[in-house]
Amino acid sequence: MNFLESIKMAFTSLAINKLRSFLTMLGIIIGISAVITITTIGNSISQTLSGTFDQLGTSKLTIYPDIRDDNDGYHDLPDDEQLTLEMVQDLIKRHPNELTYSCNTLYQGSEVVSENGNSFKTLMFGVSDDYFDQFKKQIVKGRAVSKGDMEEQKYTCLVSEIFTQQYFEHPDDAIGSTVKFLGADGTNVRLTIVGVMEYTDLEKNQLGVNKAKSIYDIRTWVFFPYNTMLKIQGLEPKETILEAAEIGWTKNCDKETAKLYIQKYFEPIYRNDEVWEMHIYDEAQIFGMIDTVLTVVTVAISVIAAISLIVGGVGVMNIMLVSILERTREIGVRKALGALNGDIRKQFVIEAIIICLTGGLIGVIIGIMNGVLLSKIASLLLTTMAPEYAEYIVLTVQPSIPAIVISLGFSMLTGLIFGYYPAKRAGNMNPIDALRYE
């Protein structure tokens, strides 16, 4: 008797006792749906994190001098020349169309007197020309700090809408106007506005925009070229020591190549240094760690949930034993008609597997539905409770395909394991005893 016939026969006998077949499946359904729900949630969180990290611009490597792994613990204070702006600029110059350097350094707080004579405070940041690359959508008027501004150390700046409201009577006049910033250290800087940006909800929250009683209480941000800041400070790139630098890459390059370039550049500089090395920090590695932890948790909970599969399997075994007892006469007849022990065994094992596999499939569907439902609830909570973060979080619902495959495999295995013993008993029945069974 071939395999297909056995499957057909199994379906026929399961269809005869629909309610019983369903109740038997229930244990498997619960087990599998629990596993799939958990893995769907786990996988969705992981996907959401990775989407969110991408959104926040993980396409940067941070480099900073760090103590070598093989150092014995004793070391002198850092040498002045460990990482200078010159080195970074040199590195970028070697791979001009591949690597980028973006930075954002606080210069100082300063005071501005508006056209109306109101005084308000700002925070000034020296930024590189590509700093706004990832925030382009925030620039509403004019342009960001450009490469030319950087190289020629121009006195230009980018201000926020709030700044224009604070300073100008007619905020539309902003572009092209020159503003005097009175530094906390007493120095004066005059910068020409080349662009206007608007804050994200998250930034508004940081600045306390919604809580401010008056618009002049908001300590708004002003961005101007990094090199201009150095000029004001009177420092040369060679003298500018950086604690760390963020290296990005263009579409002509990728992360691994960028890492390679960095290593290659710093290798001769640090070759003979026994204490320090240039460390490359990849934000994605943090994400990788979170992801690993998440995977471990998901697997652990799944395994616990899978224990319910054993309970379900015992239920299947129980019902198979009952079913075989009920059908003893049938087994006797089949044997009298020429069924081999193996034919009978196969028939019952396949019945058990079909119960479990059908239960598994239903469980997978329920599990995915649960996962989707919970993710919807999560996104609803997120948008109502933390709206300022909502736009950064890319909520993804992604059932884990390996988990589904493994679950279905497991439910088949459950059927095989728990169906085998009853089926073997049925197969080994003595035909004459089976026929006489009342």
Binding site: M1, V333, A336, L337, G338, L340, I432
Partner: protein
């Protein structure tokens, strides 16, 4: 006579609970030859051992001692798988209580031995319908056993017994659960199969009247064959 008998038994015995205090011997020294095309009845009171004999003939049970050759093959050396194959191909069973499989249609029941013989679905259906026509049940082939009367069930059971063209049909009290009229119809069917298809039929019954319809009658009593009467030949 040089013909090889379909069934050849020599000194067959059957004991239960061997070696235990309640050891029970059911069959004693059975010697028996049944030839192709014979319609033989085995008659005996209940408890005489006729069912045990039938189970041994049908290879559902094994003798304790003695020799049983089916179509010249010594059956005592065969394993379960080989016995299953022989039951499937060489023996057609007709039981007192029909033993049709519930919830399967008459057609599927008749197909059962063909299924275990490894025949394809199309050929199975074809052959089973042919058999159902032979027993005159063609208008009810799609019914479940629960929807059939006793006489009809037994006719389906006979069709099933014929499925693989067995060397021998073993009928154990085939009319036992039927009323006189339907029992008559079933007996007529056996006669028809015997005459028209040339089937070898062994009928086990406690009824001497039914037995007297057959051409040869073996009487069994207390586990021994006490008479072997062949019509037209005498004892």
């Amino acid at each position: 006579m040089n013909r090889v008998p379909v069934i050849h038994m020599e000194a067959v015995t059957k004991k239960y609970y061997i070696g235990e205090p309640n050891e029970l011997q059911i069959l004693f020294d059975i010697g028996l030859d049944i030839y192709e095309g014979e319609f033989v009845s085995i008659v005996g009171a209940s408890g005489s051992g006729k069912s045990t004999l039938m189970n041994i003939i049908g290879l559902l049970d094994r003798q304790t001692d003695g020799k049983y050759l089916l179509n010249g093959t010594d059956t005592s050396q065969l394993d379960d798988t080989e016995l299953s194959h022989i039951r499937n191909k060489e023996i057609g069973f007709v039981f007192q209580n029909f033993n049709l499989i519930p919830k399967l249609t008459a057609l599927k029941n008749v197909e059962m031995p063909l299924l275990y013989a490894g025949m394809s679905q199309r050929k199975r259906t074809e052959r089973a319908m042919e058999l159902i026509r032979l027993v005159g049940m063609e208008d009810r082939y799609s019914h479940d056993p629960s929807e059939l009367s006793g006489g009809h069930k037994q006719r389906i059971a006979i069709a099933r017994a014929m499925a693989n063209q067995p060397s021998i049909i073993l009928a154990d009290e085939p009319t036992g659960a039927l009323d006189t009229k339907t029992g008559r119809m079933v007996m007529d069917l056996f006669h028809k199969l015997h005459k028209e298809e040339g089937k070898t039929i062994v009928l086990i019954t406690h009824s001497p009247e039914l037995a007297s319809e057959t051409e040869r009658m073996l009487t069994i009593s207390d586990g021994r064959i006490v008479s072997d009467f062949e019509r037209g030949k005498g004892e």
